[in-house]
Amino acid sequence: MAQRAVWLISHEPGSPLCGTVRFSRRYPTVEKRATVFNGASYVPVPEDGPFLKALLFELRLLRDDKDFSESRDSCSHINKTSIYALPIGGEELWPVVAFMKNGMIYACVPLVEQTLSPRPPLISISGISQGFELLFGVQGFLYSGQKNDSELNTKLSQLPDLLLQACPFGTLLDANLQNSLDSINFASVTHPQKQPTWKAGTYKGKPQVSISITEKVKSMQYDKQDIADTWQVIGVVTCKCDLEGSMPNVTISLSLPTNGSPLQDILVHPCVTSLDSAILTSSSIDAADDSAFSGPYKFPLTPPLESFNLCYYTSQVPVPPILGFYQVKEEEVQLKITVNLKLHESVKNSFEFCEARIPFYNRGPVTHVEYKVSFGQLEVFREKSLLIWNIGQKFPKSMEISLSGTVTFGAKSHEKQPFDQICIGGTAYLKLHFRILDYTLTGCYADQHSVQVFASGKPKISTYRKLISSDYYIWNSKAPAPVTYGSLLLVRCHN
């Protein structure tokens, strides 16, 4: 299990090559093994230039997709994973693990320790998951806390050294590159015995533990008879444990109030040392019933030095926090729109912000808007064909607000106005953006007494909570809207 080469490529749509290799690293000892293992089916790792071209073509990132190209557009050329075969010099380089995130393409070629013809199934190649972890690790390092291009460049310039540390011979030792960076800095400290490898040093100072629960709520609302609305909460619990000692033991418990919604689909950080089977089996795949495990959710762990995501979970709360409908009627060049939003009474009515964005796709620029809002203000972005309804910090006492108006559009010119592949014809949506501090929709919380620390000194424990919206869509109920199987199914069950 090793990597033959790694690349970082920035996608630059305007440039002649459409991209630049920002970083690459080859592993010749692994390559040597590849020649032996792959035998006659061995294909060498190409130089950066040909690799860049082949990868961008395969990922459809070159500009010339005007004409049909069989090698790229053929219906039988189907990729169902982020693993590609790149035609290079008459041969196919496989497997190439590659994906794009924030305009950066991450790619590597794992070693396959056997002949490549016939190709073994991906599941049986250990280097595949290692390649992914390496790329995720690099991505995490580049984008953790990074704000601008110069910071990105600084981090890119640190990569050669970091990979020399974390992956000196192509076999990944630690996907957490920040940890590798720390261990370079901690190098002079003499370590006690049996220090975990994922902990670069020991903490010295005042003991403190911070736990923050962030819940994202997403929703698809249709206001239709035959399609059920859906919503889901996704939680992440982030911790930072500043505790002395090489391996302090900590147990963190998450609790729910009596009417709280059970946590499901819990994935934990590898530093968690054991798991209750009730946590392992509580899953959204099963039909909901009252016997669902409702905590407390205990996580015994040995914390790493840095801040880490203790666990992720999902939850199905009984009602969406904001229920709404959106109606769009087309009248010649005008659209008549009506929006109604209602905050559920159980939700904390104190927002950091709350706004509804109403975009219009595949049309010309907005030329004229007439509107009436019962609450808040409406902003119009004509060129972007976008309305933003700023609702503010609080819903009114009635908990219900509305917007109605007509929007007039100018002539459509292809380049300027936003294109969308979903919003065809009458299909349209509005998207809610909001944030509520010191609140979770599931009710999930961690209090001071829920943290047990087996280390010297009584730590200061701080906890934080917040709820934010994510992919919170309300679809035009007067036109078709994209649905998931769940939406159709739920209606059947309810009817």
């Binding site: 090793a2 997709d65 972890e133 996907a175 950080h269 054991s274 089977s277 795949i285 292809h414 979903i422």
Partner: protein
């Protein structure tokens, strides 16, 4: 020459990295490696510059030092540089160790005769085990990182030369108890242990106390290369792919461990697993793959050792850890995972494949793992993607595709949906949930709607056709799915004829279940709706693919109407393409009129000439010849060809003449080797020919279509080499090959001839099995013999012998297939019958006039053929 400056190096390295091959071909290429080594010792260059030079040598040793002697010299020089470093902190020590290791391992110089290897290995082991190496090895602050690096270097060397550290297993175990560098040590120990097991198993030796021996080469003492020399022939996969691992496993099963050795081994593995939580997640995963596959084949090593780790691992979101658990599942199956465990693992996998906290590439990989899940009791054929039995529809609901998904996720989920639809069909309609099939139809309709969007990106169209292809492939047997799909696609074409290339591509790739009805509706779509200029171009392209003998009058009517509007050259060419397709399909009467009209009315002279040519061909050639004349490989008029070429008496040159056969073909001796049967055809040349193309057609389609054989030139009287014709039988059966020859005469005419058919005999398909090693032959045969039943059949025959007896008969006809021979009375014979059958013969207790033959085969259909064959042998002599 003095040292190069920092700037020059920076520039040189930049140019090198941009294209190493171009740089090495240039003037500076040859000496780059030498300069780099000498400048590493230059006092004028700063440390960062030297680190960048070392970084280059870590990546491109093969370019810098292309052969083993050069690599040896480089490694020696790097080691010298390391030793000569002043005893103050330096950033060069780590990269120098890595570079020397890389140079030796990648350059193929590592070995007992290499002086650099003999220096490097004790040095690494000394550094790693924390032995005091004197002040030259830098200040104390550097010891820890150097120690970890030394372990990694040793592991890389062990990976490249399995068995290298086999002699140090005892030492490594001892250190594991006390060392702080837990991770590198654990990984190295696991690797060396695994390699030692495999090498010793191959040599049929036990562990010979390797696990407890404390002895290890001291500095200056000789290194123990014994195990590495034995393992040299076989590079060991550290985490073998599963099918490959199963092959290697029979070898591990041969390892006989004494009870003490087995106990020591178990203790070592348990020790490694117990401290595995101290390792980073990726390193834990490596450890599990290594240990899992190391123990899998071994007798008496129960996998329960892994059990305590599993719950902890199943709870995480780490890709490598879950993947390693799947590897353990594949390695041990039911021995480690009960049916309940399997169900839990499947649920965690299903959950991970859709968990909103994980990134898309991880979702897709988990989905792949689901469809390739190593089940305890798989039902379907191995190697094919399928939904595991325990993965019911209920579990998959969250994994169904929707239009909101990214294209790759949509296709992956669509595949799952198709597999569920297959099952749904099998289970009949249950009518509880919305039927998956209905959902599939709605989804496809949505995809088509997006593809129809005028001016939308091509990726959307591609996605729609990929989805259609996937559905057609998975659900080929379900007309209820294919019929709406066909009509939906026809509608899509109506809405956006510019997608014609996608339709042509789809028709080329799907089977007849969708292809045939789609062709019909698309043709109707085209001929019933003549469009304007832009659409006309696409219509003609479409029609060239879908036009055939059916609906002639409508097609011709459309073409006649179109002809008037084909004003530009491109459209006329497209029109002629359709005519050509009709010509090949054997459309007569009306086409002649159209071609005559085109020959008169087209503006483009090239087009007029082509129309006239087609008319001549139509009027003068019979249908099969027309097909040949217009076949793709012939020198038929390429429509893009220039007028000049065609004006040189093109009609005569392009007419294909029927002629008597210029050559005679006969079967040469049978070649019983290689992965497929290959016929050797002897050629007897009667007339001189050029550019000979022999086309073979297999009657009754018993074999896959055969490729044509091309010979540039044949002259009578000159010796010819036999022609090789590989066969791909679909069934192991004799067949007749019809043979046609197309060739050019010395006078430049293109001719066509029928040759007498060739007969492929049953015995021509025989292939031997790979030879098992000496000593394993009988077992190999017996295993094959047993494997035939219960699927196949067994029979007994009397094979009459000629005057020369059994020995002569075997040596003449069956020699390549003999597995075990005891001449003159007994032979065990194994024959591979492609595509995937086998025939096993026991010829034992031969008598004067015949021999009783016991035979087994896994394909009952070959029995009569075998009988005929054996009875015919004595007649053949």
């Amino acid at each position: 020459m003095g040292p190069t400056s920092r700037e020059t190096w920076a520039q040189r390295l930049g140019t090198f990295r941009a294209s190493p091959s171009a740089f090495m071909a240039g003037p500076e290429g040859e000496d780059l490696g030498r300069h780099l080594l000498s400048d590493l010792r230059s006092e004028k260059l700063s440390e960062p510059t030297k680190v960048s030079l070392l970084a280059l040598s870590l990546e491109y040793p093969a370019q810098l030092w292309p052969d083993a002697p050069a690599a040896e010299v480089a490694a020696t020089s790097l080691l010298d540089t390391l030793v000569l470093l002043p005893p103050r902190p330096s950033a060069l020590r780590r990269p120098l160790l890595l570079a020397a290791t890389t140079a030796l391992a990648a350059g193929g110089a590592l070995g007992p005769t290499s002086r650099a290897s003999r220096r490097l290995l004790p040095l690494l082991l000394g550094l790693a085990s924390g032995r005091d190496l004197g002040r030259s090895f830098g200040p104390a602050s550097e010891q820890r990182p150097l120690q970890a690096t030394a372990w990694e270097c040793l592991r890389e060397l062990e990976s490249c030369k399995p068995g290298l550290l086999g002699g140090c297993l005892g030492l490594l175990r001892g250190l594991l108890g006390q060392e702080a560098a837990v991770q590198p040590l654990s990984l190295l120990l696991a690797l060396a242990l695994r390699n030692a097991l495999v090498i010793q198993a191959r040599a049929r030796a036990g562990l010979q106390g390797l696990l407890v021996a404390g002895g290890c080469p001291t500095e200056g003492g000789p290194w123990n290369w014994m195990l590495a020399e034995e393992g040299d022939a076989h590079l060991q996969p550290q985490a073998p792919s599963w099918p490959a691992a199963e092959e290697g496993e029979c070898c591990l099963a041969m390892l006989e461990l004494s009870p003490e050795e087995a106990r020591e081994l178990r203790a070592a593995v348990a020790q490694l697993l117990d401290i595995s939580y101290l390792l980073t997640p990726v390193a834990q995963a490596q450890l599990l793959w290594l240990l899992g596959w190391a123990l899998r084949g071994l007798r008496g090593q129960p996998p329960v050792l892994f059990k305590p780790q599993l719950v902890r691992l199943l709870g995480t979101a780490q890709l490598t850890l879950l993947h390693a658990v799947l590897a353990l599942k594949a390695a041990f199956g039911e021995a480690l995972f009960t049916a309940q465990d399997e169900a839990l693992l499947l649920r965690r996998l299903t959950l991970a494949a859709q968990h909103p906290a994980l990134p898309l590439p991880a979702h897709l990989f988990y989905l792949h793992c689901l469809l390739n899940f190593p089940e305890n009791w798989p039902l379907g054929p191995a190697g094919e993607e399928a939904a595991p039995l325990l993965l019911g529809f209920q579990l998959c609901r969250g994994l169904l595709p929707s239009l909101l998904h990214d294209p790759m996720a949509l296709l992956a989920r669509l595949h799952l949906l198709c597999l569920l639809c297959v099952e749904d069909e099998e289970k009949e309609e249950k009518g509880q949930d919305q039927s998956p099939r209905q959902y599939l139809e709605e989804l496809l309709a949505g995809l088509r709607q997006r593809a129809a969007l005028d001016g939308g990106p091509r990726a959307l169209a591609t996605l729609c056709f990929q989805a259609s292809y996937l559905v057609a492939r998975c659900l080929a047997g379900q007309p209820v799915v294919l019929t709406p799909l066909t009509h939906g696609l026809a509608q899509l074409y109506r809405a956006r004829p510019a997608l014609a290339p996608h339709f042509v591509d789809l028709l080329d790739r799907v089977g007849p279940e969708l292809g045939e009805p789609l062709k019909v509706v698309l043709r109707q779509e085209v001929v019933s709706r003549p469009g304007r200029d832009e659409a006309l171009r696409w219509h003609l392209q479409m029609l060239a693919r879908v036009a055939d003998g059916d609906a002639q009058s409508a097609t011709l009517g459309f073409l006649q109407a179109a002809a008037a509007r084909c004003t530009d050259c491109g459209l006329q060419q497209a029109l002629l393409q359709v005519c050509r397709a009709l010509l090949r399909a054997g459309v007569g009467g009306g086409l002649a009129d159209l071609l005559q009209a085109l020959a008169r009315q087209l503006e483009d002279p090239d087009g007029r000439d082509h129309a006239r040519l087609y008319y001549i061909l139509l009027a003068h050639l019979e249908e099969p010849k027309l097909g040949v004349a217009l076949g793709p490989s012939l020198a038929a008029p390429a429509l893009a060809s220039s007028l000049v070429a065609e004006n040189q008496g093109f009609a005569a040159a392009l007419m294909v003449q029927e002629a008597p056969a210029p050559i005679r073909l006969s079967m040469g001796p049978h070649r019983a080797k290689g992965p497929v049967p290959v016929l050797q055809l002897q050629v007897e040349v009667l007339e001189q020919v050029y550019s000979l193309e022999l086309r073979f057609r297999v009657e009754r389609q018993l074999y896959a279509p055969l490729g044509a054989v091309h010979v540039p030139c044949l002259c009578p009287g000159r010796p010819t080499r036999p022609l090789l014709l590989p066969l791909q039988p679909r069934r192991p059966a004799p067949a007749r090959l019809a043979v046609r020859a197309l060739y050019t005469t010395p006078s430049g005419l293109t001719c066509h001839a029928h040759l007498p058919p060739l007969l492929v005999n049953f015995a021509d398909l025989f292939l031997p099995f790979p030879q098992p090693p000496e000593g394993a032959k009988l077992g190999f045969f017996e295993e094959l013999w047993d494997s035939c039943l219960p699927k196949g059949t067994e029979s007994r025959l009397w094979c009459p012998l000629g005057p020369h007896g059994l020995e002569a008969l075997v040596s003449r006809h069956l020699e390549p297939f003999v597995v075990v021979a005891q001449p003159p009375t007994s032979y065990l014979i194994a024959i591979r019958l492609p595509p995937d059958s086998r025939l096993l013969l026991r010829l034992e207790a031969a008598q004067a006039d015949g021999v009783p033959v016991a035979l087994r085969t896994d394909d009952w259909a070959v029995l009569p053929l075998v009988g005929d064959y054996l009875r015919g042998l004595s007649a053949a002599g």
